[in-house]
Each structure stands twice: as structure tokens, then as C-alpha cells.
């Protein structure tokens, strides 16, 4: 570059050219160009009349100087936004948004009420069982019916603080949206049924235990009375004969057997106490009392073999004494 600019010939030409170069475009052209430039920038808000004038100018210039047309998607996007927002508003307005909430709160209240009822009834039933007055099946059925009716009634009933118009509106909403409420109702009913079953099972178990304890008490009392009868009426020689003569004793024995089966551990302890007593009587040579106790023992524990439990000396003594008495008689 410097080579060219430093060249004398170039400098000469440059000076001459610059001296001769003074032409400018006509003013009319200046005006038309500037006008077109202004229009191009500020043409977006211009009217249709200006576009006709501009088209003439375009023909003059031979180029398209029309303003850029507004994109079609701008108004379309506005319309789309409007439609979407309207649809959302409409949906929100028509949707029963409060109905499920009301149904749920009512169901929760119903559930809470049911829980309280159940707890109270459970307590009362336990007290009844304790007081030894068993509930009948009819009572249980009535309770079940009441409980099954309770959630429906509470769910349908409006809150007392609400205005009547609002209550009617809510009822209508509930009708409009039955699926949500019915699901919750079913759940509540299932919960109630489950609790009822659990209560019934518990009651059954308690009744069984009471029956068992009663049977035990009865058997013990009968046994004791029979044993006392035996002792007072004198000891017979042959057990078979006694059995034939006194069927009550046999019945008492059979009950004893049953009671033995029920409580093996207690019986074993009692048996051991009795054996110890027999042994102490034998050692102290209290033979008369020993005889009675031995008979008693055999009545209580008829199936247990003597050889396994009682001392051999005592058995020998018994054999001798019983032989003597039978010979005397």
C-alpha cells in the first residue's frame, strides 16, 4: 500500500483526480433517498394510502421498498393465548372443586364419630363381659346396622354453620361429583366393618375364656363335694361297686379327669403335695388317716400307677392292712 501511495505517478494522478472530483448527486435524488429511508424505518404504523405512494417510488427506484408486513403469527398467538386462558377459566368455574373437599371433610368427621362410638361401645362391651352379662347376637346386629348407617348420614348432612343456600349448592355439587364421595364412603364402611369384626372376635374370645373358667370352677366344686361325701359316708372296699352304687361319684371322677386334662401342671403340683402328705403320714405311723388319704388319692388320681409314685413300703403296708380288714369283714 505504501509502495503505491509513495509512487510519484500515483501521487500525480491522485492530486489531479481529487482536484477534478467534486460532483454531487442532485438535490432531488438526495430528498427522494432520505424520504425513502425515513419511510422504511417509520412505515410500520403508516396507512394504506402511503403504500400507494411508496409503490410509485418503488417503481421509480426499481426496488421493493415496501415495509415488512406484520407477521401473521403475532395476532394468531394473541388469539391462542386468549382462547387458552378463557378455557382454563371456564374449566375452573365449572369444575366442582369444593365438592370433594366437603365430602372428604364430612367423611373425616363421620370417621372420627365412628371411632368414638366404636371405642365407647368397645369399652361398654368389655364392662358387660366383666360384669358377666353376655351380649346377645341381636344386640350385635343392631349395633352393626347403626354403624353402617352412621357414615352415610354424616356425609350427607351439611355443616351446621353453613348458610342454607351454600348447603344446597354443596349438595348439588356432591350430586355432580358422586364418584369421589362414594369412594370415601366405601372406605369408611369397610373400616367400620373391619372394626365390627374385630370387636366380635374379641368378644367371642372373652366369652370362651369366661365359659372355661366357669366350667373349671363347677368341676372343682363338684369334685370337692363328691370327695367330701365319700369321706363322710365311709370307704367302701371295692371301687367298682361304689361306682355302680353312686353314679354321681363316677360323674365327678369323669369331670375330674376332664379338669386334669385342662390343667396338667396344677394337678401335678397337687398330686405331689398329696403324695408328700401320704408319705409323712406313713412315716409318722398315722395309719388311720393314711388309709383315708390313700383312698382319696386313688379317687382323685385313678389312672396313675401307685408303683411309680408311692413308696414301696407304703404299698406293702396297704396290701397287708387291706387284706386284714377284708378278712375281718
Amino acid at each position: 500500500m505504501n509502495d503505491i501511495e509513495n509512487d510519484k505517478d500515483y501521487q500525480d494522478i491522485h492530486e489531479k483526480y481529487q482536484a477534478s472530483s467534486n460532483e454531487l448527486p442532485p438535490l432531488s435524488i438526495d430528498e427522494s433517498i432520505l424520504k425513502a429511508a425515513y419511510k422504511a424505518v417509520g412505515s410500520e404504523g403508516e396507512t394504506h394510502a402511503n403504500s400507494a405512494e411508496q409503490s410509485e417510488q418503488n417503481n421509480k427506484f426499481g426496488v421493493d421498498t415496501q415495509p415488512v408486513k406484520r407477521a401473521w403469527y403475532v395476532p394468531l398467538s394473541y388469539v391462542a393465548m386468549l382462547v387458552i386462558s378463557l378455557s382454563v377459566v371456564m374449566k375452573l368455574a365449572l369444575e366442582p372443586d369444593t365438592a370433594p373437599m366437603i365430602a372428604q371433610t364430612d367423611l373425616y368427621q363421620a370417621d372420627a364419630g365412628l371411632m368414638d362410638n366404636l371405642e365407647q361401645k368397645e369399652l361398654s362391651s368389655i364392662q358387660e363381659i366383666k360384669s358377666d352379662s353376655p351380649r346377645t347376637l341381636e344386640d350385635t346386629n343392631i349395633e352393626r346396622q347403626e354403624l353402617s348407617k352412621a357414615p352415610v348420614a354424616i356425609a350427607v348432612m351439611p355443616a351446621p354453620t353453613q348458610a342454607p343456600a351454600k348447603v344446597a349448592e354443596k349438595a348439588a355439587m356432591k350430586k355432580a361429583a358422586p364418584s369421589v364421595a362414594s369412594d370415601d364412603m366405601q372406605r369408611a364402611e369397610q373400616e367400620v366393618l373391619y372394626r365390627q369384626e374385630r370387636l366380635a372376635k374379641r368378644k367371642q374370645r372373652q366369652n370362651q375364656e369366661i365359659m372355661k373358667s366357669r366350667a373349671k370352677l363347677e368341676s372343682d366344686s363338684v369334685l370337692m363335694s363328691e370327695a367330701a361325701d365319700f369321706a363322710s359316708s365311709g370307704i367302701s372296699e371295692d371301687r367298682q361297686e361304689e361306682k355302680a352304687k353312686k353314679p354321681g361319684v363316677v360323674a365327678g371322677l369323669s369331670r375330674m379327669e376332664r379338669s386334669d386334662q385342662i390343667k396338667d401342671q396344677d394337678v401335678a403340683k397337687e398330686q405331689q403335695v398329696l403324695i408328700d402328705e401320704l408319705v409323712s403320714l406313713f412315716e409318722n405311723k398315722q395309719y388311720k388317716v393314711l388309709e383315708q388319704k390313700l383312698k382319696e388319692y386313688r379317687l382323685i388320681y385313678p389312672r396313675i400307677k401307685d408303683k411309680e409314685v408311692l413308696p414301696r413300703a407304703m404299698l406293702d403296708w396297704e396290701a397287708k392292712e387291706i387284706g386284714k380288714t377284708s378278712q375281718k369283714e
Partner: protein, 193 residues
């Protein structure tokens, strides 16, 4: 007062900043830009068209309208003068292609006859101006473009190379040939070095 200060501020700005300002809708920026470059561009077009005024006016308007319409595509990274003369060069090339004939039919003898009129009269300066214009008109298209872009656009060799689509050395040699040829036409009796 305010308008004057605003215009002064715009005068201080570069071409690129003015063009960006015009992109943003500032028409005053376009005024300044147009005032800066209208003369050079007009003379460039006029010389390229062998001083055909009407044609030059039309093409000159076209070039500026192209600039106006393509204002949003302008990137400030490009030098504005290069951008403007690129538009002008392409427009002239289109014109030449459509015309298929250049106004190179001016006879060299006519120029020589005019030269022989003698430098000693009062109209010597005007005569020189006429001569040089005619001499430039007689240059081949590539050399004429190179010398006019250099003189009117005040562009560097690289910028001229970018506009004309050749490398820098080619532009340099074209300029040398153009200068030699102009010297030969303006001073026919002087020995060419």
C-alpha cells in the same frame, strides 16, 4: 439547540454506530451517514458509468435503497464503507451484465485531440479534470474499479480485494497498471518508467 447538539453527537460517531442507530429507527443517523458518503459513492458510480449522469443517478438511488432495505441484515462487525461499496460494485456488475456493453467506445484519439488544445489557456484546469475523467473511463473495468475504490471510497488494498473478489496482490498490480495507463494517457509524450 438540542437538535444541534444531537447532530453534533452523531457526527462524532463512526459509520458503523450510525448504521446501527439507523437500524434502531434513528433517521438522523441515516442523514449523517448519507451526507458522509453520498459524494464519494456518487462519483464512483458516475466514473464507472463513464460520466453518464442519468444512469448514475438511477443506480445511485438503487444502491442506497438496497442499503435501506438490507439495513436489518447489516452486522456492525463489517466496515460500513466496505459494505456500501460492495453493494455498489454488485449493482454495477449487474448493470454491465444487463447492458452487455460498456461505454468504452470513447475514442482514444478524441482524448488526444482534446489534449492537443494546449494547457496554456484559462480553461486548463477544467481541461485536466475532463481529461482525467475520460482517461479513467478508458481504463479496463478491473483497473477502473480498483482506482475508483481507492480514490472515492478511500479503501485499503485488502478492502478493495474483498469487494472485487480478488487477492490483495492482484489489486496492487491493477492499481499500478491503472496509474501507468492514466499517466500514459494524460502525458503521452512523457516516457513511461
Amino acid at each position: 439547540m438540542n437538535d444541534n447538539s444531537a447532530v453534533d453527537k452523531l457526527d462524532d460517531q463512526t459509520d458503523e454506530a450510525l448504521m446501527v442507530s439507523y437500524q434502531e429507527g434513528n433517521t438522523a443517523a441515516f442523514d449523517v451517514l448519507y451526507a458522509r458518503h453520498k459524494g464519494g459513492l456518487y462519483r464512483y458510480v458516475l466514473r464507472q458509468l463513464n460520466n453518464h449522469t442519468e444512469l448514475a443517478n438511477e443506480i445511485f438511488q438503487d444502491i442506497w435503497m438496497k442499503l435501506v432495505n438490507a439495513r436489518l441484515r447489516y452486522q456492525p462487525s463489517a466496515k460500513f464503507t466496505t459494505y456500501l461499496y460492495h453493494l455498489a460494485h454488485n449493482r454495477l456488475v449487474d448493470h454491465w451484465r444487463s447492458e452487455k456493453k460498456h461505454q468504452q467506445h470513447i475514442e482514444y484519439e478524441d482524448i488526444l485531440e482534446n489534449q492537443s488544445a494546449g494547457p496554456h489557456n484559462k480553461l486548463h484546469q477544467q481541461q485536466v479534470q475532463k481529461e482525467i475523467k475520460q482517461a479513467i473511463a478508458l481504463l479496463p473495468e478491473e483497473q477502473r474499479s480498483a482506482i475508483l475504490l481507492k480514490e472515492e471510497g478511500l479503501l485499503s488494498l485488502a478492502e478493495i480485494a474483498e469487494i472485487t473478489g480478488v487477492n490483495r496482490e492482484t489489486v496492487k498490480s491493477r492499481l499500478r497498471y491503472a496509474v501507468k495507463r492514466l499517466q500514459g494517457m494524460l502525458h503521452p509524450l512523457r516516457p513511461v518508467q
